[in-house]
Amino acid sequence: MPRHRPRSFQDIILTLQSYWAEAGCAVLQPYDMEVGAGTFHPATTLRALGPNPWAAAYVQPSRRPTDGRYGDSPNRWQHYYQFQVIIKPSPPDLQALYLGSLEAIGIDMELHDIRFVEDDWESPTLGAWGLGWEVWCDGMEVSQFTYFQQVGGHDCRPVSGELTYGLERLAMYVLGHDDGNEMPFNAPDAPIPLTYGDVFRDAEAQYARWNFDTADTDMLLAHFRDAEAECARILAEPETDPKTGRVIVMAQPAYDQAIKASHLFNLLDARGVISVTERQAYIGRVRALTRACADAFLATVPGGRAA
């Protein structure tokens, strides 16, 4: 891979995409729903389950309402990007492949100090955990590197290797910007140069106001209950579709509802209407949904059912 210095945020995304495409991953597009992290994309959560091999890479816009700072923070946004790679089974040279991707975006291994620092990953809402590291570049965390051991309460066999790059932080480092809003989104010498802040700053303020103070909590609660009920209803349907007569397990539509419930919980949390004790209960409810969806996925063909 020819090494060139990226000049913009999108350069980094494009470079990572082509690097992982060349490494054999299917380059997918973001999932079209609000999620808290790239892991929620069905391409990771569901595809990590069952025996079938899988390799995908994608950008996932992610939302963490409580991280909103009205666009004023140099390194925190309620909407941000993750770049996600998942390969199942995890290849023996995954660490080397990963380091190659850092070189591709211009991090010179001869000058920088890369470290794999213990970090066990756990997602209570996904009923998932894995072992791995935070990857540090000169003392800064630039990625999470995880070998999935369990998802949705099921042991992962084979094991998937998952890489998550926090794109803003990585880009700020590579591009040399201390204020993320100031970093160029497109080429700095483009006819219409745009910074990250030009694209997102005002939207950050808008969402912060809505997330923290304006969102209708009664409505959010109702939506949460609706999503929860719909998820259960979908999964309770018989496996055989009465219209086509085919076995169609609706794991993914049900999982969409679980994703919705998860995001609604995050919104409720940001509105400050969930007490400490209730928190655990809500997390448990979302986990019950993702577990049920994981069970259902294993009954689909991608999940390993004989076609």
Binding site: P74, N75, P89, S90, P91, P92, Q95, M109, E110, L111, H112, D113, I114, R115, F116, V117, E118, D120, G130, L131, G132, W133, C137, D138, G139, M140, Y147, Q149, C156, R157, P158, V159, G161, Y173, D178, S275, V276, T277
Partner: protein, 701 residues
């Protein structure tokens, strides 16, 4: 005799697990070899982030041949039994020997086992070790089912002799043992073929890997100190961090950088904690204590001598410290302008325990208790109450939310900035102490009052809801709280009757509401059990001081054992006394008197407790004992009254000689009943005097 070298090469092993893993590898392999009959002369185990290594010198070539005789069934036993025996022993019928024994003839089998070559045994033991390795957390990877801490890539396993080396034949889940390893991930990544341990260690060093963690730690310590010294500064010692950092690098390169001007006014504890927790940096300070620089340890050398690495680290640190400065400024505003009020209010929504209410409830209890106890520890009640009210305020500050380990420390800064007196701020900082057997014990009266109240509230609270520690489970650290109470009382020589002064009852749980209401026992009911718990912790504490458990039992049996300071004074005096010749002999005398008395009392059905009269004494020895008792008794009693146990025991010591003479010269049993009774009553004076000092019947040996 060959040397054995094993290296297990993997992806990065968590730093905190490395030392233990190297030790486990050594133990599992050497135990396995020895069990199989293969001994060795010397073992050394090592760990780096990517490898565990074990080197054994002087391993036997083969395990020795063995011969075992096994007795079987009697001759004439059922055929089935004989067949079973043959199968178990693995010998043929013709090889059985018949031996005459007392009870008749029996079959005896002689089992010969040929020794096995070292390689075969090593292969078996290493496979078992790898498959059963006790990692705190392990994982699978790829399609395999082998578990290791992170993916295992290579197994190096060779036996080295003078004429060359042999690869031990071994394959685990597709990984075949070899004589190959790899150097530093970035600086020397190619394969290295090795012939033995010396060759291995030397080649690794050339490939930028320092195998021995102690050597890496020493390089870091030395280089960091050197860099700091050259600029007139010193590194803040941190052994835990040193061990961790030595486990994060194979080739340590020490770099020193500056902390931005804007952050130098942050409290040193904040700088140190933020740098250690987030960045694993060492703090570097001026002689005044001000922290102005940091030391970071990189894992490689670079062409620019670490300039890029240092610049990157400095930028990350600036971002982190900007957060810390933001918290600090916000917190100071709350402290100065609002006297910490919003934090105190927020404690109401922090649950301490579902059945014991919020942190605010707990603070109210501690404040009331601190106020009540203040006079008995010499503290001003108003101050003690105020300090207790503020003690937990920093828990809801932004800084402590980010760095929980700064609780108390931040509280002191904020209380000072809010204008509270120094004694109050000090108590806020010290009220968690002592946190363990070697932590400093507060000695300022206000600090003592709040610290004691904090711990007693915790203990009585969990006793009231019956959530006591069981076995190894002590989630609320109640043992530590109990030891804290003990050390606070002893160190400050405080006299407090925990039961008698109703200390346990002062913590009021009536407003600790839960849905079902408080249903646990009342202080009168759980008090004795809680006291017994404190006594147990006290025994452990005193055992470390070298005081035997039976000596403590002898003192625990005495009245006033809820005053731990008194209890310990008595135990220390008794322990010293029993170490002397007089003490040992007096104990014998007491036992003899007590045995004779107990027997006589049982036999006669009466208690001989008083009324010994000099006029019935028949012998000189009896009269001498009367005289000695008469002369020592008032002194001993006075000493006991003033709680001078050492003086009381000195008095007892002076009774030793007359008691010895008495037992030598006098036969207790006399045909004259009045003489016998008189002697028994005389013995009871000895018994009573001794038992007033401590319950000597509990002394063992």
């Amino acid at each position: 005799m060959p040397d054995l070298l094993i290296e297990l090469f993997s992806e990065e092993i968590p730093a905190r697990m490395q030392a233990r893993a190297a030790e486990d590898l050594r133990k599992l392999v050497t135990d396995g070899l020895v069990e199989a009959g293969l001994t060795y002369a010397h073992a050394g185990a090592f760990a780096t982030p990517r490898r565990l290594a074990l080197a054994l010198e002087g391993v036997m070539e083969r395990s020795p041949d063995t011969r075992e005789e096994r007795r079987g069934p009697k001759v004439g036993a059922p055929e089935k039994a004989v067949e079973g025996f043959l199968r178990g022993a693995g010998v043929a019928r013709e090889a059985l020997e018949i031996r005459d024994e007392k009870k008749g003839q029996v079959y005896v089998a002689t089992i010969h086992r040929a020794g096995r070559p070292a390689a075969e045994i090593v292969a078996e033991v290493l496979e078992r070790t790898i498959r059963g390795f006790p990692w705190p957390k392990s994982m699978r990877w790829g399609t395999g089912s082998l578990r290791w801490v992170r993916p295992l890539h290579r197994i190096l396993c060779i036996l080295t002799r003078e004429d060359g080396h042999e690869i031990v034949p071994l394959e685990i889940d597709g990984i075949a043992a070899s004589d190959v390893t790899e150097g530093h991930r970035f600086m020397a990544p190619s394969e290295i073929r090795v012939t033995g341990f010396e060759d291995y260690a030397a080649k690794l060093k050339r490939a930028k890997v320092i195998l021995d963690p102690a050597e890496r730690a020493e390089i870091i310590r030395h280089d960091a100190a050197g860099l700091a010294f050259a600029t007139g500064l010193e590194v803040v010692e941190d052994e835990g961090l040193l061990r961790e950092v030595a486990g994060l690098v194979e080739w340590p390169v020490v770099l020193m950088g500056r902390i931005g001007e804007a952050f130098l006014d942050l409290p040193p504890e904040v700088l140190q904690t933020s740098m250690r927790e987030h960045q694993k940096f060492f703090s570097v300070r001026e002689t005044s204590g001000r922290i102005t620089r940091f030391v970071t340890v990189a894992n490689r050398e670079t062409a620019d001598d670490g300039a890029t690495i240092l610049a990157g680290n400095q930028r990350v640190l600036a971002a982190r410290l900007a957060d810390a400065a933001f918290f600090w400024q916000n917190d100071l505003r709350v402290a100065r302008e609002e006297k910490m009020r919003p934090w105190l209010d927020a404690l109401g929504s922090v649950t301490f325990h579902a059945k014991l209410g919020s942190e605010a409830d707990r603070v109210a209890r501690i404040a009331a208790l601190a106020r009540e106890m203040a006079p008995s520890v010499g503290a001003d009640p108003d101050m003690a109450e105020e300090a207790a009210r503020l003690a937990k305020a920093d828990l809801t500050s932004e800084m402590v939310y980010e760095f929980p380990e700064l609780q108390g420390i931040m509280g002191r800064y904020y209380a000072t900035d809010a204008g509270f007196p120094d004694e109050v701020a000090q108590a806020v900082a010290e009220h968690y102490a002592p946190l363990g057997p070697s932590d400093t014990v507060p000695t300022a009266p206000v600090s003592i009052a709040v610290s004691l109240a904090e711990k007693i509230d915790k203990l009585t609270g969990f006793w009231a809801i019956e959530e006591k520690p069981t076995g190894s489970k002590d989630p609320y650290a109640l043992r530590r709280a109990a030891l804290g109470v003990i050390r606070l009382l002893l160190t400050n020589d405080l006299r407090l009757n925990l039961i008698g002064d109703r200390v346990f009852s002062k913590a009021d749980f009536s407003h600790a509401e839960n849905e079902a209401g408080l249903v646990g026992p009342k202080p009168e009911e759980y008090g004795p059990d809680l006291l017994a718990f404190l006594h147990d912790r006290l025994k452990v504490h005193l055992r470390d001081e070298g005081i035997r458990h039976d000596v403590i039992d002898a003192c625990l049996a005495m009245h006033g054992n809820d005053d731990l300071t008194l209890l310990v004074r008595r135990a220390r005096a008794l322990s010293e006394f029993l170490k002397t010749d007089d003490g040992e002999n007096l104990l014998q005398g007491f036992r003899r008197a007590n045995n004779i008395l107990s027997q006589a009392e049982e036999q006669d059905g009466v208690e001989y407790s008083y009324g010994a009269d000099l006029k019935f004494a028949e012998t000189e020895a009896e009269r001498a004992l009367f005289a000695a008792l008469d002369s020592e008794e008032p002194g001993i009693e006075a000493a006991m009254k003033s709680e001078d146990f050492t003086a009381a025991m000195a008095g007892l010591a002076r009774l030793r000689a007359p008691i010895d003479v008495f037992f030598e010269a006098v036969q207790i049993n006399s045909d004259v009943q009045v003489v016998r009774r008189n002697r028994l009553n005389l013995l009871s004076r000895i018994r009573r005097l001794c038992l007033d000092v401590a319950d000597l019947t509990r002394i063992e040996g």
